[in-house]
């Protein structure tokens, strides 16, 4: 079983990581950086205002960037028949989506945290705020990845699934946003801990929900 899962992870990473065919990394990253770049243009060069709102902007940009790769996460493998073949080999859908979550997080979580450095410079965040944003993203992006894979599985095969996926992720990601961005305002560890807690809940639910969704769509 572990050998099978390792083979799955290897394939998923090849597809999702930088230069992979499903473009999971580059496009969201560019999108994230362009939001961080556009924001100072829109509200003007008021350094104090930028520094106060910058952390929240980074969080919103990260959340929106996480929506971009959703339509390539599950649907192509379903159309190609991969999930059926895995099921026939006794690899339950829960495992395949759990592996996909790991690969998806690796392809967008750490790159996003790296891209936060230039984004924080553009927005004029100080060291303390940057540290809180980075820790918040570290706690929150696994939850975003879990949510992304779940919603991708739920909307795979639907007409207009990509747009629907975006609409479904946003409300469900609100708790992450509130606690993650909220930790900036309070400056406390409590917000980070709650962000991590929301992530853990999402991570626990996601494999079962996404696995059930894939089985249900098989019909």
């Amino acid at each position: 079983m572990m050998g099978k899962l390792a083979a799955l992870l290897r394939r998923d990473l090849g597809l999702l990581l930088l230069g992979g065919r499903r473009g999971g990394t580059v496009l969201p990253l560019l999108f994230f950086l362009s939001v961080a770049m556009l924001f100072p243009f829109a509200i003007g060069p008021d350094a104090a205002l930028l520094a106060r709102t910058g952390g929240g902007v980074i969080w919103v940009a990260a959340l929106l960037a996480a929506i971009l790769p959703l339509d390539r996460l599950i649907e192509p493998d379903m159309e190609l028949g991969f999930f059926d073949q895995w099921a026939l080999r006794g690899v339950a859908e829960e495992w395949t989506v759990a592996v996909r979550m790991v690969a998806h997080w690796l392809s967008f979580g750490p790159p996003l945290m790296l891209a936060t450095l230039p984004a924080a410079a553009l927005l004029g965040l100080d060291g303390t705020a940057l540290r809180l944003v980075e820790l918040g993203l570290l706690a929150g992006t696994p939850g975003l990845a879990a949510l992304g894979v779940t919603v991708a599985a739920l909307t795979a095969g639907l007409r207009g699934g990509a747009a629907l996926a975006g609409l479904l992720v946003i409300p469900l990601a609100v708790p992450l946003l509130i606690f993650g961005a909220g930790s900036l305002a309070t400056g406390g560890e409590g917000g980070l801990a709650l962000t991590g807690a929301v992530s853990l809940v999402l991570l626990a639910i996601a494999p079962c929900a996404a696995g059930a969704a894939i089985r249900a769509e098989r019909g």
Partner: protein, 192 residues
């Protein structure tokens, strides 16, 4: 070959609000083959998916022992990868399959990306994947679609060897499929 058997009892299948077939029972023991015949849309693919355990019957039960290998119109090979690496992914899961590709005449295509392969070549690749899986129960959904006559004979020969080795073969096809000792199940007899 591990021991295998495949039995279905009083199966019924519904797509949407249309009943496709009902009262279907079958029993296959090692070495047996079954040709599921019938017109388009009569439920051949649905029956194959029910036997594979991928779809639930509307009523009835399926009892299968032994892993099932499925070949249908989706090859489950990454379109952008060269064929050799796309098959290599399945070999990492199923174990090495040394001469499956050579047997199906794919050796000169191993460097070609899967998306450039023709329908028939993709079908051969799917058969190579099936051989590599070494599952005792073969479920083939329209295995001859897109194959030229040589490849079609080869597929029939592979199925015959599989059954001779103690495997079970279920072939859903509207085309003729020649296999010694194969039973025929006309699905139209179970239409409501």
């Amino acid at each position: 070959m591990q021991a295998c058997h495949l039995a279905a009892d009083d199966l019924a299948c519904r797509r949407g609000d249309r009943l496709l077939f009902r009262g279907l029972s079958l029993r296959l023991s090692p070495g047996q083959a079954l040709h599921v015949a019938g017109a388009n849309g009569i439920g051949k693919s649905s029956l194959i998916r029910i036997l594979a355990g991928l779809a639930r019957p509307y009523s009835g039960t399926v009892d299968r022992s032994g892993a099932a290998g499925l070949v249908d119109d989706r090859p489950a090979l990454d379109p952008h990868l060269p064929l050799g690496r796309a098959l290599g992914f399945w070999q990492r899961i199923d174990g090495p399959a040394d001469n499956a590709a050579a047997r199906l005449g794919l050796n000169h295509l191993l460097d070609v990306p899967v998306r450039y392969l023709s329908t028939g070549q993709k079908k051969r690749a799917a058969l190579a994947r099936l051989i590599g899986q070494s599952a005792p129960v073969w479920l083939l959904d329209e295995p001859l679609n897109g194959l030229d006559s040589d490849a079609a004979r080869l597929t029939e020969q592979l199925a015959a060897e599989h059954c001779a080795g103690g495997g079970i073969c279920v072939i859903a096809s509207h085309q003729a499929f020649t296999l010694p000792g194969m039973d025929r199940l006309a699905l139209s007899a179970f239409a409501p």
